[in-house]
């Protein structure tokens, strides 16, 4: 949706101006650059951290939280305006696992002590959470996870490993799923734990992603002791917490990916306007290229409108459902096609390995004009978009069950 097509009341216009001037004042060039350089999910950590602290100071550290925990108390319309203005301003993407995933679960399943201890540190940008879900033998089939938590007095003893933990190198805490029992169904006997990353026995191994960035990690747990007071929800019943969390993970995905798609399409168009066709014209005027771009732009228009309907329905209190999952498949595929087209547009300049130039403070000078710096790593990193959060094959199986069985 485009904010300029919304009919705003005088109050809403004032609110929009307030949000706009906040972004205009606080989004400094380094913070903007951090957003532009983001090839996968999150901006360079230090800039995401700075941004969360700025948001917190303004009272917008977690606008969607209930007011009692520091939420902004937006009306649904204000929430929409906030989201649209945020997409337009493009702040750095904050490492969101604490604020957007762990926090709602702590609010729903946590004890008063847990709420009082964790939530203020999350919203203030003091605590940073990693997500300990996947294991070497449990990816899309998450419930087959094996990391064991053995009860020992008022502690659990953890052994095993987690993998693909995005930005765990920056996290001081991790929420994770561990097996406390082998029961009849594999979804039973799983327990949800809130663990300090500095616990003795935790070792983090970096995994460099295909774009050359330190995105993922493997985390090894060897006799790690976790107090039972750090359990979220009931013992053996962590799957319920995990499912609740997935609602937020996937729900957030739609709003974000539709906004991101529009921006991405504009980005490809801009790149193509800066490139030449080799025969004296602009690449954007090349009939083969512009046809491919046009078809994708039409797909983006459709997905964007459909996503708005899902978001509006969600704001009224319904969980994202079947249609969101359908839409999600198409959004991810469109985004991958757009990133591929961006790389195609820059031709030979797709080749230089520029990982050292892609920091907010670059470690080497960039090769070529500015617009060729990011298409290649963004294309490669975004291949993960159809892997993280379940492959399209898994989602198609779910949807086929819904449609056919």
């Amino acid at each position: 949706m485009d904010i300029d097509t919304l009919e705003l009341t005088a109050e809403e216009t004032a609110f929009r101006e307030k949000v706009r001037s906040f972004y205009a004042e606080h989004l400094t060039p380094p913070l903007r650059r951090a957003a532009e350089l983001t090839s996968w999910t999150f901006a360079e950590f230090e800039y995401g951290r700075q941004w969360q602290k700025i948001l917190y100071k303004a009272g917008w550290g977690a606008p969607h939280w209930p007011v009692e925990y520091g939420g902004a108390g937006f009306t649904p319309r204000q929430r929409l305006i906030w989201e649209l203005e945020t997409a337009r301003a493009r702040p750095p993407e904050v490492m969101r696992m604490g604020r957007d995933y762990a926090a709602p679960c702590i609010m729903r399943f946590g004890t008063d002590e847990q709420k009082q201890f964790f939530l203020p540190k999350i919203i203030a940008g003091e605590d940073w959470w990693a997500q300990g879900y996947s294991e070497p033998g449990a990816g899309s089939d998450l419930a087959s996870l094996k990391l064991s938590a053995v009860s020992d007095g008022d502690e659990y003893l953890l052994n095993g490993s987690k993998i693909w933990t995005t930005f765990a190198q920056h996290a001081n805490r991790i929420f994770m799923l561990a097996r406390t029992a082998n029961m009849e169904k594999k979804q039973q006997g799983i327990t949800f734990l809130l663990v300090d990353m500095n616990s003795p026995g935790i070792e983090v191994r970096p995994i460099i992603n295909i774009a050359g960035e330190h995105e993922f990690n493997e985390i090894f747990f060897t006799d790690v002791r976790v107090p039972k007071s750090r359990r979220l929800g009931q013992e053996h019943e962590g799957w319920a917490v995990a499912r609740y969390l997935l609602l937020f993970e996937h729900g957030a995905g739609i709003a974000r990916s539709a906004a991101e798609l529009k921006r991405r399409a504009g980005w490809v168009r801009e790149i193509a306007s800066l490139e030449q066709d080799g025969c004296g014209g602009a690449l954007l005027d090349d009939p083969d290229f512009s046809r491919k771009l046009g078809l994708l732009e039409i797909g983006v228009e459709a997905a964007d409108f459909a996503a708005d309907q899902v978001i509006i329905a969600a704001a009224a209190g319904s969980a994202p459902g079947f249609e969101a999952e359908l839409l999600n498949i198409r959004c991810r595929e469109l985004d991958q096609s757009l990133t591929e087209l961006a790389m195609e547009a820059i031709g030979y300049y797709a080749a230089p390995d520029q990982r050292e130039a892609r920091f907010v403070e670059p470690r080497t000078d960039a090769i070529g004009p500015p617009h060729v710096l990011t298409p290649t790593p963004i294309f490669f990193a975004q291949r993960g978009a159809t892997i993280a959060g379940g492959t399209p094959d898994i989602h198609r199986n779910n949807l086929a069950r819904h449609l056919l069985d």
Partner: protein, 375 residues
């Protein structure tokens, strides 16, 4: 690639495959810098006589043909070996063979075959996209020298080359076919600035600035202003070599994927039991067969008349680009998260395949060239 290879060719394919598997396979390979791997591979290729394959016997070569080059490139692609065979041997060697003055040939070819010399082609410019006749770099004759001025981008292998083949305009307008000349330029020439870097497909390349570089008349390759036919011919050979490399990478990815889906368990069964994935594996093999067939057909057409040769070569590039991209994306997807890391070779094959898309022209460019020559 399926073909009635001769006994000698079969032996060479086997030898290369064993060598690359023993010396340069993952995960050990991932711990070594690309340039180290490239150098080690180059020494091995020199010892096997592979660097001399296309050259005349009088210089120490073995006068092999396009199929020999294709089988070497297929093996390099399958082994993911970043050896710069295309810029040094296929392109650099090709220019020398077809148009090199005899003194230069006698001086340079034996060094190439011994593995002591690398070559590179600097022909792409910021505005040229895939059109080799789009040349803004100028060459002005002054006495017994030419003065070259301009800029080139992404010249593969230039960082380690002793000489660069540089295209420059001696006449005609910006994109005219006439007026393009080819020069052999020493990397030590005054006024030559080389900005080197590694590429995402594990080779090296450079952006080059020529600030009034002086080149002796004797280093003009071919006729002044008439180099475009020579360039097209050698680029067509390079395209087939690059396609063979991509086909080798596709073969390796298909093998990795078959192994992976047979062993990886999810939801209580191996991935190989899921029909959607079974079909995808089959489609990947169909793509490989198509790409391999067109590559061999194109290799056999390289000695044909230019228009016929160019038409088949462009058909090949247009198709192999698409088939290879399909296989690469599917292979990453089938492997899940480990496919989008730098740790497994699958991601590296994928990067090579995706950058191959652009090299010597993308699918759209070659589809149009094919259509133009089909009229």
């Amino acid at each position: 690639m399926r073909y009635a290879w001769t006994e000698e060719q079969t032996l060479l394919r086997g030898a290369l495959e064993r060598l690359f598997a023993e010396r340069f396979s993952f995960p050990d390979r991932s711990k070594q810098p690309n340039q180290y791997v490239a150098q080690a591979a180059w020494r091995e290729l020199a010892q096997l006589g592979v660097l001399g394959l296309p050259f005349e016997e009088q210089f120490g070569g073995s006068e092999g043909g396009a199929l020999d080059t294709a089988l070497v490139m297929e093996a390099l692609g399958r082994g993911l070996v970043p050896a710069p065979y295309i810029p040094s041997i296929v392109i650099g060697g090709g220019f020398l063979r077809y148009a090199g003055p005899s003194a230069l040939k006698a001086e340079l070819i034996p060094r190439l075959i011994a593995g002591d010399l690398h070559l590179a082609l600097a022909f792409t410019e910021a505005q040229s996209r895939f059109n080799p006749a789009n040349v803004a770099t100028s060459a002005v004759r002054r006495g017994d020298r030419y003065i070259l001025s301009g800029q080139k981008i992404v010249a593969y292998n230039a960082p380690i080359a002793g000489f660069l083949f540089v295209t420059a305009r001696t006449g005609g307008a910006h994109t005219d076919l006439d007026g393009v000349s080819l020069f052999l330029v020493s990397v030590d020439a005054a006024g030559l600035e080389v900005r080197s870097y590694e590429t995402a497909d594990e080779y090296s390349a450079a952006d080059i600035r020529l600030n009034g570089v002086e080149v002796a008349v004797g280093h003009l390759i071919g006729e002044e202003g008439k180099a475009i036919d020579l360039i097209e011919r050698v680029l067509d050979e390079a395209i087939v070599a690059a396609c063979a490399e991509a086909v080798g990478a596709m073969a390796a990815l298909n093998a990795r994927c078959v192994e992976h889906v047979r062993t990886r368990v999810a939801f209580g069964q191996t991935l190989s039991k899921f029909q959607a994935l079974r079909h995808r594996i089959v489609d990947m093999h169909v793509a490989y067969e198509q790409a391999g067939a067109l590559t061999l057909k194109a290799a056999l057409s390289l000695s044909a008349a230019p228009a016929h040769r160019a038409r088949i070569v462009s058909a090949c590039k247009a198709q192999v680009c698409q088939e290879a991209a399909f296989v690469g994306k599917a292979a990453v997807q089938l492997h899940g998260a480990i496919g989008v890391t730098d740790e497994l070779d699958v991601g590296r094959y994928f990067k090579r395949i995706m950058l191959f898309q652009h090299v010597f022209g993308g699918a759209d460019y070659h589809l149009r060239r094919f259509l133009a020559l089909s009229r």
